[in-house]
C-alpha cells in the first residue's frame, strides 16, 4: 500500500512535471490566463498520460524496443485525438480556448517520458498510479499558475470578482511576459522549498547518528 502511495504521490511535488522537471512548459504558460482554461488543460493531460501509461504497460511485452518510440507516439496521438473530439463535441467553448495547444499535447515531453521511464517497465496498476500522480501534479501546477494570473490579471477567480470593483487589473499578468516572469519566481520558490527539506533531512540524519 505504502509503495503504491509513493508511486502516486511523487508526481505531486517531489517530481512535479512543471516546477521540478521543467517539462511540458508550453501549455503551462499558454493556457493559464484563466483558471478554467488551466483546469481543462490539466484534466486533459491527466486523462492522456494515465490512459497512455496503461496502454503502454499492456503492450510492453509485444513491442520491439527498436520501434518503441513510434509506437508510443502513435498511441499518444490516438488518445489525444479522442480527447480532442470529446471536448469539441461537449465543450466547444473550452475547445476553442485551448486552440492549437490541445493538439500539441501529443508532443508533451512528460507523457512520452513517463511511458519510456515507467510504463514500459512496470505492471498495469502501477503504471496507472504513476500516470495519474503525474497528471495530478501537472494539474496542480497549472492551477497554481492560473489562479495567480487570473487573480492579479483580471481580479477574478473562475470569473468571480475577488478584489471588488475598484481593482485595477494588472494587465501584464495575463500577457506573455507576466507568465514568463511568474514561472521564474515559482521555480525559485520550489527550489528554495526543496533545499530546505533536504537540509531538514540532513539535520535529522545527523541527530539520529549522534543518538546511535
Amino acid at each position: 500500500m505504502k509503495e503504491h502511495w509513493q508511486i502516486f504521490s511523487k508526481g505531486l511535488i517531489a517530481e512535479n512535471p512543471i516546477f521540478i522537471l521543467a517539462l511540458s512548459l508550453c501549455p503551462a504558460l499558454a493556457v493559464t490566463t484563466t483558471v478554467i482554461n488551466g483546469l481543462t488543460m490539466g484534466l486533459t493531460v491527466t486523462f492522456v498520460i494515465t490512459t497512455n501509461n496503461v496502454v503502454v504497460s499492456i503492450v510492453r511485452k509485444w513491442v520491439n524496443p527498436k520501434v518503441r518510440v513510434p509506437v508510443y507516439i502513435t498511441s499518444i496521438a490516438t488518445i489525444v485525438t479522442v480527447a480532442q473530439l470529446v471536448l469539441q463535441a461537449y465543450f466547444p467553448v473550452l475547445y476553442k480556448a485551448m486552440g492549437i495547444y490541445l493538439a500539441l499535447v501529443v508532443v508533451f515531453a512528460i507523457i512520452l517520458a513517463r511511458a519510456e521511464v515507467f510504463a514500459s517497465k512496470n505492471g498495469v496498476w502501477k503504471s496507472f498510479l504513476d500516470g495519474f500522480g503525474m497528471g495530478c501534479g501537472f494539474t496542480l501546477a497549472m492551477l497554481t499558475i492560473a489562479v495567480i494570473r487570473e487573480l492579479f490579471g483580471a481580479g477574478t477567480i473562475l470569473g468571480v470578482p475577488i478584489f471588488g470593483a475598484g481593482y485595477e487589473p494588472m494587465l501584464m499578468m495575463i500577457l506573455p511576459p507576466g507568465a514568463f516572469i511568474l514561472i521564474g519566481y515559482l521555480v525559485a520558490a520550489c527550489k528554495t522549498w526543496n533545499a530546505k527539506q533536504e537540509e531538514k533531512a540532513r539535520l535529522a540524519e545527523l541527530k539520529a547518528g549522534k543518538e546511535a
Binding site: 521543467a22 517539462l23 512548459l25 508550453c26 501549455p27 504558460l29 499558454a30 513510434p70 507516439i73 502513435t74 496521438a77 490516438t78 489525444v80 485525438t81 480532442q84 473530439l85 492549437i100 493538439a103 500539441l104 501529443v106 508532443v107 508533451f108 515531453a109 512520452l112 501584464m172 500577457l175 506573455p176 511576459p177 507576466g178 507568465a179 514568463f180 516572469i181 514561472i183 521564474g184 519566481y185 521555480v187 525559485a188 520558490a189 527550489k191 528554495t192 533545499a195
Partner: protein
C-alpha cells in the same frame, strides 16, 4: 505582395512563436546556454519546419481532405514530421557528413517538438495556400532563431552576474525571457 510581407513580419516579430505563443520552449531554454549552438538550432528549426510544412500541406489537401479524414490530422502530422526528421537525419548522415556533425544532434531534438508540429497545424487550420504556408513557416523559423540567438547572447553575459541562489539556472532564464517578451510586445502595434 503586401499580404505576404505582413504575414512574414507578423510571424517573425509580432507573433513571435517563442515569446508570445510559448512554442518550442524546451529547446529554447535547453540550447540557449550556448551561442553557437543556438545559431545552429535556429537554422535547423527553420529548414525542418519549412520542409515539413510543405509535406504536411500536400498530405492534408490531397489526401486527408478529399477522403474526409481531417479528424486524423493530429496523428498523421505527428507521424509525418517525426518520420520526416528521422529520414532527413539518415540522408544527411550519408550524403553530407560534415553538415551532420554540425546539425545532427539538433535534428534528433526537434523530431517531436511542439514548434515543428504547430506550424503545419496552423497552416492548414488557417487554410493558407502552399506559398503562404512556406512564407509563414520561414517567418516562424526565423522568429525562433532571432529569439534563441538574443537569449543566448543575454545568457552568456549572465555568467558574470551575481544571481541570487534560488534563481540560478532556469529561474533567471525565465525572467530574462519575460523581459525579452516584454520588449517584443512593443512590435504589437506594427501591423
Amino acid at each position: 505582395m503586401g499580404e505576404y510581407l505582413t504575414l512574414f513580419i507578423g510571424a517573425v516579430v509580432v507573433n513571435n512563436f517563442v515569446l508570445t505563443k510559448f512554442l518550442g520552449l524546451c529547446i529554447f531554454f535547453g540550447i540557449s546556454k550556448n551561442l553557437s549552438a543556438s545559431v545552429g538550432m535556429g537554422m535547423a528549426v527553420t529548414s525542418v519546419m519549412t520542409m515539413s510544412s510543405i509535406l504536411a500541406w500536400i498530405v492534408y489537401f490531397f489526401v486527408l481532405e478529399p477522403l474526409g479524414l481531417t479528424f486524423l490530422t493530429t496523428i498523421v502530422f505527428v507521424v509525418l514530421t517525426a518520420s520526416f526528421v528521422q529520414l532527413l537525419e539518415l540522408v544527411i548522415k550519408k550524403q553530407a557528413p560534415a553538415l551532420y556533425n554540425m546539425w545532427g544532434i539538433y535534428l534528433l531534438l526537434i523530431a517531436t517538438n511542439c514548434i515543428v508540429l504547430a506550424v503545419p497545424l496552423l497552416n492548414v487550420e488557417s487554410n493558407y495556400s502552399l506559398l503562404k504556408s512556406i512564407v509563414f513557416a520561414i517567418g516562424s523559423g526565423l522568429g525562433f532563431a532571432v529569439a534563441i540567438i538574443l537569449m543566448a547572447s543575454l545568457r552568456e553575459k549572465l555568467v558574470y552576474a551575481n544571481v541570487p541562489k534560488p534563481l540560478q539556472g532556469i529561474g533567471i532564464a525565465f525572467i530574462l525571457a519575460g523581459m525579452l517578451s516584454l520588449a517584443f510586445l512593443g512590435f504589437a502595434g506594427m501591423l
